[in-house]
Symmetry: C2
Subunit: 403 residues, 2 copies
């Protein structure tokens, strides 16, 4: 019998208990052993839960019980989740997690600690909810050099942007609706300002390139500045706006960034709508593959957590290839100013201003409506597009990168 402890009995924690209970027989068939949820750590009591008798409030009960060999951490936040993870790994317990904050901030250290203690640290649920992405990157695509990953990694912002696109509504209106439906939190900052997506793209970049970048240092633009005019313009031009976590190499250095992007209609993630996530991986041998599905939610995320649990329980520790990360040195990280793509530029200029604009830019898909010049640029770096906009001299209304 394998004894498991769950840290946290919130949405994902209770979902994981539900999956382990409801699908107990198919899981036990796969691992060839019985599973017992021995403890559930939470500050609260759950007198009406079928798991009421497993609830403990003292982490040391779990840490000091040698019978517990696997721990699922689903607490959220850096502390004490990180500290508990360290203690479990040091005590020779494998850990699986849905906590992107801990993985993005401390993944390098925790993976090394797991290796050192002959156990595993797995985090499929930290990116893309129920969508298989970490394991396929680690195993199925193991013989590829990844060249780029572009992901719709946050369901809340994708819901908002989809509603803005479909209904022409404003950001503020749609946010309110999303909050009422439970798709956005009362304090939506981590979602709409891009930090959640930043943590996830940092994890994907580390899986792709073996180097972890501090998520708090990457270029991170949210969607609070996207207007319904931007959304409508994008639609008229045949694009849709998505919040994209993007990673690639620029002159051998790693770029990771989060920003709104215009997605062309022939891109497979164009159709990824509402709360779904979609992750597009470009790699030298396979070409382009996409992973699509529910990027959040109780049971989908619990499906990923329990997939990792099964992986650990079915294998000897030596049976799992753990990724090896190192923290990226400053000289290994690309300057976002050097990253080149096309840009949608909207300038406020009188009709006569066209000449000045045309002197700086080749104007693709030009639209002049009233005093607004909207166009798509050639591929150029951040630094260059900013310099040219400054050289034109008219006020910038919007600039959105094209994927």
């Amino acid at each position: 019998m394998i004894h498991v402890a769950l840290l946290g009995f919130g949405v994902v924690g209770s979902g994981t208990a539900e999956v382990l209970t409801q699908n107990k027989s198919i899981i036990e068939k796969k691992i060839g052993q019985e599973i017992n949820i021995k403890y559930i750590l939470d500050l609260r009591e759950f007198p009406d839960s079928p798991f009421a008798d497993r609830i403990v409030h003292d982490f040391n009960t779990i840490a000091n019980d040698p019978e517990v060999s696997v721990v699922a951490e689903m607490m959220g936040g850096s502390h004490p989740a990180y500290d508990f993870t360290v203690a479990c790994l040091k005590a020779g317990k494998s850990v699986v997690t849905s906590n992107k904050e801990v993985v993005a901030n401390f993944g390098t250290e925790l993976l090394a600690l797991a290796r050192q203690h002959g156990v595993s640290y797995l985090f499929e649920a930290s990116v893309g909810g129920g969508i298989p992405i970490i394991r396929p990157l680690r195993e199925d695509l193991a013989s590829n050099n990844v060249t780029a990953i572009s992901g719709i990694l946050n369901g809340t912002t994708n819901y908002i942007l989809t509603k803005m696109d479909v209904e022409g509504a404003s950001f503020a209106e749609v946010l309110k609706d999303a909050q009422q439906k439970g798709y956005a939190e009362a304090n939506p900052a981590a979602d709409v300002e891009g930090l959640d997506a930043a943590r996830k793209i940092v994890i994907l970049a580390a899986m792709a390139f073996g180097k972890r970048i501090d998520p708090n240092t990457i270029l991170c633009e949210g969607i609070t500045g996207i207007t319904s005019a931007d959304s409508e313009l994008a639609k008229e031009m045949g694009y849709t706006i998505k919040l994209i976590g993007y990673t690639t190499k620029v002159d051998g250095k790693i770029l990771a960034m989060v920003s709104p992007r215009l997605i062309p209609r022939d891109n497979p993630i164009y159709g990824v709508s509402y709360v779904n996530n979609g992750i597009l991986v470009n790699a030298d041998m396979v070409g382009q593959v996409m992973f699509y599905g529910p990027g959040a939610g109780k049971l989908p995320t619990a499906s990923a957590v329990t997939g990792d649990l099964v992986d650990i329980m079915a294998h000897t520790p030596a049976g799992i290839i753990s990724p090896v990360w190192t923290d990226a040195a400053p000289e290994e990280i690309a300057d976002p100013e050097d990253y080149a793509c096309r840009h949608l530029v909207v300038l406020n200029a009188p009709f006569e201003g066209g000449e000045q604009i045309a002197a700086q830019f080749t104007l693709h898909a030009l639209r002049v409506i009233g005093d607004r010049f909207s166009f798509i640029t050639d591929v150029m770096t951040e630094a260059e597009v900013k310099a040219r906009i400054a050289a034109v001299g008219y006020p910038l209304v919007s600039r959105i990168r094209v994927l």
Copy 2:
């Protein structure tokens, strides 16, 4: 150092040699050992290939060399591929394959043989080319009960149907174009008549339900009967026609079938076009996830083969969870007549015939043009829709199931 043998030096075999050579350093970093392609079995000589000195013509050279611990079988066809696989597994060598015919026909026996000899038999490349699907089903979704899989599993037919949809061209015209471009074989029967997709859906059904069905016995309709009129009608109704491999349970029994289906616009595989494949998995915990990418081709397929090689080389045999299949007993297999879905029905009838038709069917999205009545039925079984069409008494022009 790990010594590998490749069986077959055709498209996939030479691609695998290329991946193992070109990305040697990233692969060796992951497995912590050097890899050597010791032998390549082929009937031909390749005097100009950099691998010319590895080519052997006698399989026994490989079978009898204890240094070779892993074999990649990429010969195609049942024999001698099956026989060589048996010999390798019995000699204690793990085998990976891209050969869907062997996996679909003999997978149960080969998986059991691998288990018996403490080695692995992996076949990620047998379905969906470079798309990760077998391993995600086996591991990431291990704690789910799969409820249905619907897949665009054949790039040739998807290319043809996409061109028919986009250009309104006829099947014959597009087939000729596909043959000229190398997307369809000179003898396209296995693709256009659905047998290739049948083998793949049988493999997916076995992954989902643990039971292998003989691919030659399942309901299998190809696309040779799809006319440009069907394609245009589907488009006008907001659908697109795709050849779908489908598996689910009907009253606890396993259904696997291949047929053209109408795909509604909000289905994630609606946009899977040209030679791409897309596989939609419905499961009780995760909900719905999709895997998308190149379903064939030299390097994508080789990416999947080498992913399996890395998996085997990085793990001890005990480190890999092999699926356990049994051959489905007749009473475990659903009768396709009992499978219920909506159907597009096109009948040849005079305008006055409408009353008779309406007596048998609720007419969704009815279109009457000249003497053609086109409509979508309620959800009903094969048996029922056939009986009602017979009761109407007018000639059937087309019937296509809706996904």
